[in-house]
Subunit: 416 residues, 2 copies
């Protein structure tokens, strides 16, 4: 924590001590979202790119000077972060680009980018003296919390509130990790409010990324890593799917931090992509009006958030970086699952590839130029949502165990 | 290939040039399995632990001197290998041990250890001049082949034969990767024979690990890595689940290689664990009689192989290392999914945790002593087989979005 100065309200600018369980701005009636402020000059004095390169810890904790945790707090044992970056010519071609970097965050230990935030939550909960951590989640925040808590080896408990539409893969995963799972018969928003009430009532640590300022600090490691993996030569654009708004806000915060300490000299323009059936942040971005709650009509469950809690940070990220937003249909999302899978061998969940679908649209529209350098992040593993994967991929060819019959099918040209 | 000497038949000792598409021993009527022989003295001269430590490539290709590939052959872009090793006190306690190392190979890019063999197959296929690679598989070999082929960016095709019982997650995954999938209405054995016929008929490259000597060389990287991650201080025991026999054979080969070049001074005793409902190799090990085909009655589909093709190499691995074999029930496997998940945050598929279930049994029986140092490998990701995960984990607590009702449920002590 030696580089953390304060928590600052992004609405009114009020400052607070960086207590581990300080979530929202009291002056703004507990509506204002807080942001962690670092002493960048001090970090610059103590930490260089060479120091970073010499660090053998290939996980999010290699960025300790830029993380709001005490060095001595025990960390989950799961290896979170340092996910691979691939440079795919064929995918670039499919998207209408000359070059694309794909970062596969579905290879985090529980299968999504959310491990970055959950690992942080487990550390901060301990610093707050809590042994139970709770959240509401469409799935990935939940399973990542459950997994990271489990890896503490019985020292902590996780209580998870999921909306009933959460895919079976995600719910099963958190039951396997031993979390207490509350399946709320209602929407994501209703699950959120129930968790909020329960957290206050039983004094649990709150891992709801929309209000806990430390979680965005975990998520920002995705752009710290990407920058390092690209040798600190930043692309023109960086693309994320957007649900609650926390991930793209985190990505921006990481880039902002790196620029402040001089590791990078430009921040890529951020592209936020929402699903047509649930795009409140895109609407607010375009109309420049306050956010209006929408319905949640998309199969990309991880970004189906009708009332996003971190939209202000998300909008700020996009505007500050001179970026843009775009919506895509469920059909475009399903098509992109196959395009990414066939060209790169990476299987992303629907929300995981949504950013790529939006990117394709923006290239078609001429917003992103063919020669622009672009990076995009697969935020979750496709194995988490097989039902939609199946919709995207179709059915296998069924044959009896007989070579002649296979040859006949083959010759009919049905599939081969 | 500069360290590869020959292919040697493990039955009759006949030697062959290491052609990329030489699969079986012609002298033994194409029944004898071949093994890759290296010039260990030359490797010792050229390669040291220090060289290895200085290598920044954190994938299976860091072990190039011990791999049977040409340096210049293009490799799949997926980052295969360097999966994490965890040291869990709580899991050790559950197993009755003082210490256990868990290697999570479910974090390979397509979710299983098989990526190691498939990456090898993609390289060897190119060396053989083939553009189509085919296999029959219960799932993981298939999806790993499909993913690794896809990551070549359209340069190659995969044709996959799966038995109809393959879990939806695995089949969906390979359709997403764009493979041609043939779902064979029959057993694993029938799928195998159909693939064998088709491969010969259409002259595809054969990625059936039981007969292709190079694939075991890919799989052996799991023990090369484990050794390096444990600083070349080897445990007393190393545990794997066993289906076709190739994985444990590969693990042994890696250890044997490391001992020959002086990187390690002892080979751990290998423990092979099969499911009670499909344990032909355990039976042959115990009776010392030739292998008899069995039925395939287990939910651990990845090791449900009634007629394993590589049982001789597997038995050799276990006997040469002075190891042992044991069987476990499906119930013990399901229980172990939860035990591993809750204590470590690692979600393994049924076959992925079968080794741990067997280990627990051997500790109970006194074969493995409490103070022995043990490592075991999670061979596949639990997200691949949600149906069985759900059987193991049970159901979440369902509540309406109402705090009072939640509290009532809570107070009734049903779940919290």
């Amino acid at each position: 924590m030696k580089y953390v100065k304060k928590l600052v309200c992004i609405d009114c600018g009020e400052e607070y001590d960086a207590e581990p369980d300080k979530y929202l701005c009291s002056k703004c009636d507990n509506e204002g979202i807080l942001e962690v402020e670092y002493d960048y000059n001090k970090i610059k004095e103590d930490w260089s790119i060479e120091d970073l390169k010499a660090n053998e810890d290939l996980s999010i904790w290699r960025y300790l000077p830029l993380l709001p945790v005490k060095e001595e707090t025990p960390r989950p044992s799961l290896r979170v972060g340092w996910t691979p970056v691939y440079d795919s010519d064929v995918l670039a071609q499919e998207l209408g680009l000359e070059e694309i970097y794909l970062k596969d965050d579905g290879l985090n230990p529980t299968g999504s980018l959310k491990d970055r935030a959950s690992a942080m939550a487990v550390v901060k909960a301990q610093e707050a003296g809590a042994t139970t951590v709770a959240c509401s989640s469409t799935g990935n925040a939940a399973s990542s919390l459950a997994g990271n808590v489990a890896s503490m080896g019985g020292k902590m408990d996780a209580v998870i509130f999921v909306p009933e539409r959460a895919p079976m893969g995600k719910v099963t995963q958190l039951l396997i990790y031993g979390a207490e799972v509350v399946s709320v018969q209602g929407s994501y928003e209703e699950a959120y409010y129930l968790s909020d009430g329960a957290i206050k009532k039983w004094d649990w640590y709150n891992r709801n990324a929309g209000i806990n300022p430390y979680l965005v600090e975990g998520k920002k490691t995705v752009s710290l890593e990407l920058a390092e993996q690209l040798n600190f030569e930043m692309p023109d654009w960086l693309v994320f799917s957007v649900g609650d708004g926390c991930t793209i806000a985190g990505a921006w915060k990481g880039l902002y931090d790196l620029k402040q300490i001089g590791f990078i000299d430009k921040i890529p323009k951020l592209i936020g992509v929402q699903a047509e059936g649930c795009a409140p942040i895109t609407k607010s971005f375009r109309t420049e009006k306050p956010l209006e709650t929408t319905s949640e009509d998309t199969l990309a469950d991880s970004i189906a958030v009708g009332k996003p809690r971190n939209y202000k940070k998300a909008l700020n990220a996009i505007r500050e970086s001179d970026g843009t937003m775009v919506n895509v249909s469920d059909e475009e999302i399903l098509d992109m699952m196959v395009t990414v899978g066939q060209t790169t061998g990476v299987f992303g969940e629907p929300a995981g590839v949504t950013g790529f679908a939006g990117l394709k649209k923006l290239v078609d529209q001429g917003v992103v130029a063919k020669e622009d350098k672009v990076a995009a992040v697969i935020t979750g593993n496709g194995l988490k949502d097989i039902t939609n994967g199946k919709k995207a991929a179709g059915e296998p060819l069924e044959v009896p165990p007989n070579l002649e019959l296979l040859e006949k099918t083959y010759k009919r040209g049905d599939r081969f």
